[in-house]
Symmetry: C2
């Protein structure tokens, strides 16, 4: 399996964790991960990022669908970019935008190292 | 000069180009650069990105101050993250947030390859 497919799989696990809303701990987050999330200051460390995402979907969202559009493999790292959609409890799209994730290969497992996103809505 | 300092210099040139508001063409943009800019769909190609930034500061901003906080060197690439501030014509801060830029070394010159940012304001 190429790097692109492996990143796509890791990204799918992230998406499923958000949908399941109970498995945020299982996300492939690097301990030194930083998440310059939109609409607030950056979040650092896997624990804080898990809590951030937990609070995010606890309140507002039913699911998030990031799509792997491009993967640039760079040695032990890979940069993923693509669009995302976020859905509310009634199934309607409440946000859409773009993600940019730097993944890092740690002993064979691809983990989120830097993760950012922004909305395309005005 | 290390990769970090070179990225910092390239980033400063970008900042000065925005402040000068007349040198957007001189930005170190890769031809295949993509800019998943906030509040709209992603912009692709150096020409389109120059026009995007031109229209952006033509209308609303007097200057932008990105700050290189971290540089992760990855071979011919480097990932830069850090905060930014945007100032209005009266000098007040009208926005602040985070940037994440993937730079690519092309024959010794560091060029923006993927550039994204989001606001920290609600």
């Amino acid at each position: 399996m190429g790097v692109g497919e492996k990143i796509h799989e890791a990204s799918k696990r992230f998406q499923e964790a958000i949908r399941a809303a109970d498995a945020i701990q299982s996300l492939g987050l690097h301990e030194r991960c930083q998440d310059p999330a939109a609409w607030r200051d950056a979040v650092s460390g896997s624990g804080a990022i898990e809590r951030y995402w937990q609070s995010f979907f606890d309140q507002r969202i039913a699911g998030a669908q990031p799509k792997t559009e491009e993967v640039i493999p760079i040695g032990e790292y890979a940069l993923e970019t693509g669009p995302y959609s976020v859905f509310g409890q009634d199934g309607s799209e409440i946000d859409r935008g773009k993600i940019m994730v730097l993944w890092k290969n740690e002993g064979g497992a691809w983990k989120m190292h830097r993760d950012t996103w922004n909305s395309s809505l005005p």
